[in-house]
Amino acid sequence: MDRDRDIIDKLLKGWSLKTVMEPDPAIETNGPLHLETLALEAVIVHGVYFWGSTLQQHLNISGDFFIPENPAQMCFQYNNLGGKRFFNFISESLADNSCFQRIGYLTRYKSHKWMLIDDHEEIFDSENAPRGDEVADSVRNGFDLKMAILDNRDYWRICCVSRIRFIREGEKTLLESAPFRIQPEFISEDWICKVIKNDKILENIHPVTGAVVLNPVIDEQYVLDMGGFYSDHESRTEGAWKQARRFKVFRKKLQPDIKKM
């Protein structure tokens, strides 16, 4: 648990979460022994638990690096629930857009490690007085940004910023996160309780193929109004804003001599 607290402490300071994995070559579809990595650019933190999701919905490939007969867009989520034992993924068929979800054991991997990288520095924290307009200055100087929003249920939502809008009317600055897919059930208090209190919930998962799950999937994306409000999937469909309890903005630590043209 100390390890998990240490990871969460770093995530809330802007460190990036990635995985370093060796898929088990004994499983044929994994291909020969190799190292692969994934950037988990959408992170959710709640208490001592965290979930990291890939942003890109990449097209699935087989161990021979070719697309299988039924091409699908895939995204993966890893977490530390229940002693970091399982992961889940969502695939969407290119043929008919049907979604398919699986939960699987991390034993699919010969090794699976978290890598935390101290590659962002904090430039704004709503609990501290702002240092000039570092967010706008960083955007205009071409820096990549990341934001963290604490909601009223104690969930931190951390994601890289994709689009930034400076709106003259009302002098608003809006940071729009990259979108990603998620199953809300898997980050719910209910699911956490099930996994923590009942080990049997994962009992029926096949060690290689995992298990099909039928949770709703949403396309999530946050918009942060630097005035202290944000929107998510739930509030955007209603055209409403939520009050952020706290929010931070980080920028990528690039070399000091980076040039902009």
């Binding site: 190799h34 990595t37 990449h58 590659d119 009317e169 902009k260």
Partner: protein, 248 residues
């Protein structure tokens, strides 16, 4: 910053990243570009993140495209309705000074086919560095993308990259379109107030790049065949040297 006579294509091929700043009156919208095609002095830039916008409560997934044929510059928007999965496309003639292109010199080349050191690439993968991959195909198009999943095989020593996917409109890359683009934009400006609906094929761009000189695109992946590249370059993001890493 002076460009020292370098074209935007030259800068992109050195690994520089592009951001767009759309100016709408006194408001601005900044957008990163991650998937780029370059041929001669023309380029086609695509937003990587398919941003969500809502129309009557239904999310639309939006890809923004900015193309520059040398003669004319235009934008396009690919909009997928996530309810019906119907795709709409717009083409937009850009008024002068409505968009700034910002090139950031934030990547360094660590590998070039023919003279490259694969070990530098292997080391960059091991420390989870942010990488970008560019390859030249036989038709003279450079494809420049962020890498999504690198694969470093233990026994064979081979290195593959799966690039981050994006959507594009193949018709814009054709010679015929490039020849007609300036006229088309003039017509859209004159007859359609600068914006028109188009209906053309939309494809996925996702590549597997074998550092030994081969690649696959969507078509060749479906046919289970590799294509030979003319050249490959790998770039690594220039993060500060003092950043630390922790492995758990």
């Amino acid at each position: 910053m002076k460009t020292n006579g370098q074209s935007i294509s030259d800068m992109l091929l050195k690994g520089m990243s592009m951001k767009l700043c759309f100016r709408m009156g006194e408001s601005q919208e900044w957008l990163p570009i991650h998937g780029v095609f370059v041929k001669d002095r023309s380029f086609w830039a695509h937003s990587m993140h398919h941003l969500l916008e809502y129309s009557d409560g239904v999310p639309l997934r939006i890809t923004t495209v900015l193309a520059d044929t040398g003669e004319t510059r235009f934008a396009s928007s690919i909009r997928e309705n996530l309810g019906s999965h119907k795709i709409d496309q717009l083409i937009i003639s850009l008024p002068a000074r409505s968009v700034d292109l910002i090139l950031v010199d934030d990547y360094e080349e660590i590998y070039q086919s023919g003279e490259g050191d694969a070990e530098a690439v292997r080391k960059a993968i091991a420390v989870n560095a942010d990488l970008k991959c560019a390859f030249l195909d036989k038709d003279g198009f450079w494809h420049i993308c962020r890498t999504h999943i690198p694969y470093a095989q233990s026994d064979s020593g081979k290195i593959y990259f799966q690039t981050a996917p994006f959507k594009f409109q193949p018709v814009f890359l054709t010679e015929e379109w490039r020849r007609q683009a300036a006229g088309q934009m003039e017509s859209i400006r004159t007859n359609h107030q600068g914006i028109a609906v188009i209906n053309t094929a939309v494809s996925h761009a996702q590549y597997i790049v074998d550092l030994d000189g081969r690649y696959t695109d969507m078509t060749s992946q479906m046919n289970k065949s590799w294509r030979d590249s003319v050249a490959i370059r790998i770039f690594r993001q220039k993060t500060r040297r003092d950043i630390s890493r922790a492995i758990y």
